[in-house]
């Protein structure tokens, strides 16, 4: 069967394309997360992008916080932005809003210490975001080719099935998107320890190859410097229960999710790529941090390859993935045990356990998942992460320290 290579998306003024159409309320500091939630809850299509950024950040962390806030607001899935500030924090709501406004989308800001009281700010915020949503809901979806798509890929709860099925399938989707001129981002440098010789071979030049080695080995160097044993953390007890023995084994399975495309460059956490193709992003391995980093880098969607190394009963698991409303997150598994009962069907979007049972090969499963993927990006279907949004957690940020 022929796969259609177009999707329906929301065109933005800066020629980026949203696969969803939200108004975002973005707090500049975690102290005003409450206000963002109070404003957003009143209107359909208005989402609070709460996070844990705060005034203890300095140096590279402060740069990261600023990049993150601007990146979230500039994300193509967002059609309008209200930035909410406290007035006493290390970043300026006005400055963040002015940078987001460069995208051409309606953007404004409110600052608490310039308002009479909390209710006054919330009422203004509701009025502003309702106006914005009314405006952006008029945007007509258009047929778009896949070169406008940017996807982030992540693995979690990894076990042996991850390296054999869900990661290679994710890698095939990455290769397809890249071959159609789109963009893909993979992160989790510490989970490439032991696989650097494999992943770095795909660098487009020596400079990128050195950068790939640098971000992976920097993670290991910090462990050696601090005198800590990776085995207490990587692999996790869940990974070990699932059959993974060492970080090297986990990494060699994890690298499959990035496919076989050449790696064009290395990004800082939350940094938007300068071109199309596959990029490696520095940062954490924690999904709570990885998906927001992707969103800040302009991805419209994540693929989350999940093994059996975690409990299989919570729709928002792992790492409250339903909290990242800015991005649909497709949860993909290759572990047949993930699908043994109805509860687990509420937790996984698509299964490739057929690979483990020998009923499908990686190619066949990838074609099937790709069709599902196209339905999700066109908004014909929604992911579990988009449906179970009644529990929200603020997004954590990556940090390199020092922290005060």
């Amino acid at each position: 069967m022929e796969v259609k290579l177009e999707f329906l998306g929301y065109p933005r003024k800066n020629s980026s394309i949203g696969i969803r159409n939200y108004v975002a309320v973005i707090p500049t500091v975690n102290c005003v997360n409450y206000l963002a939630v109070k404003i957003a809850v009143k209107t359909k299509g208005v989402i609070p992008l709460t996070h844990l950024g705060n005034c203890s950040y300095m140096g590279k962390d402060k740069e990261m916080l600023i990049r993150f806030l601007i990146g979230l607001g500039s994300n193509p899935n967002i059609g309008g932005v209200l930035v909410v500030g406290a007035g006493c924090e290390i970043v300026s709501a006005e400055e963040i809003a002015s940078k987001i406004a460069i995208t051409g989308k309606p953007t404004t800001f409110l600052v608490l210490n310039k308002c009479r009281n909390i209710n006054n700010l919330i009422e203004q915020g509701i009025r502003i975001t309702q106006g914005m949503y009314t405006e952006i809901s008029k945007i007509k979806k258009e047929k778009i080719d896949l070169s406008h798509l940017s996807v982030g890929v992540k693995c979690g709860g990894s076990d042996t099935t991850s390296g054999l099925s869900s990661n290679p399938v994710t890698g095939k989707i990455v290769d397809k998107i890249v071959s159609f001129g789109g963009t893909a981002i993979v992160s989790e440098p510490a989970e490439l320890i032991g696989a650097e010789q494999v992943v770095s071979e795909r660098a487009i030049d020596c400079e990128v190859k050195d950068e790939i080695y640098r971000i992976i080995l920097d993670k290991e160097k910090s462990m050696l410097k601090m005198g800590v044993d990776i085995r207490n953390c990587e692999p996790t007890p869940g990974n070990i229960q699932g059959g993974l023995t060492t970080i090297e084994e986990k990494s060699l399975g994890a690298v499959a999710k990035s496919g076989n495309s050449p790696i064009k460059g290395v990004l800082k956490w939350g940094e938007e790529p300068s071109g199309k193709g596959l990029f490696l992003m520095d940062g954490s391995c924690h999904s709570g941090v990885v998906h927001p980093g992707f969103a800040s880098a302009g991805t419209q969607i994540s693929i989350f390859s999940i093994g059996g190394g975690i409990p299989r009963m919570l729709p928002m698991f792992p790492a409250s993935s339903s909290s990242f409303q800015i991005l649909p997150i497709i949860k993909l598994t290759g572990n047949p045990k993930n699908l043994n009962n109805n509860v687990n069907k509420d937790y996984i979007d698509v299964s490739v356990s057929s690979i483990i049972s020998g009923k499908e090969n990686i190619e066949e499963a990838s074609e099937r998942v790709f069709k599902f993927f196209l339905q999700i990006i066109s908004g014909e279907k929604f992911t579990i992460s988009e449906i179970f949004t009644n529990y929200l957690e603020p997004m954590p940020l990556y940090s390199v320290g020092p922290i005060v």
């Binding site: 494999v198 462990m223 005198g227 059959g243 023995t245 060492t246 090297e248 060699l252």
Partner: protein
């Protein structure tokens, strides 16, 4: 359905694709053709067993790459996991010693 899989012809471990009981005779594809192995421990789904003798201090190979070192001799057909394999990477604890 396959009971076990060797991913790369260089590998010295096979991956169980179902729970495998102790004493089960398993056929796996190796670089030298099909090899019959009697599995010596219960191997849970997703876990590994050795397809030949891995000497103490020898490399454990999966995906054709090193995934760690054997802490002891691991005879053919035995469970290969954290009790007999050590990671060599990210070991700040060894630096302190």
């Amino acid at each position: 359905m396959r009971k076990a899989l060797i991913i790369n012809s260089l590998d010295n471990v096979a991956n169980a694709l179902s729970d495998i009981n102790e004493g089960t005779l398993i056929e796996v594809e190796t670089i030298n053709g099909v090899k019959k192995i009697i599995v010596k421990n219960f191997i849970p789904f997703g876990h590994k067993f050795s397809v030949n003798l891995i000497k103490k201090g020898g490399d454990v190979i999966k995906y054709g790459e090193k995934i760690g070192k054997a802490i002891e001799d691991i005879q053919e057909g035995f469970h290969v996991h954290i009790h007999n394999v050590n990671s060599e990477r990210g070991r700040g604890d060894l630096v302190l010693q």
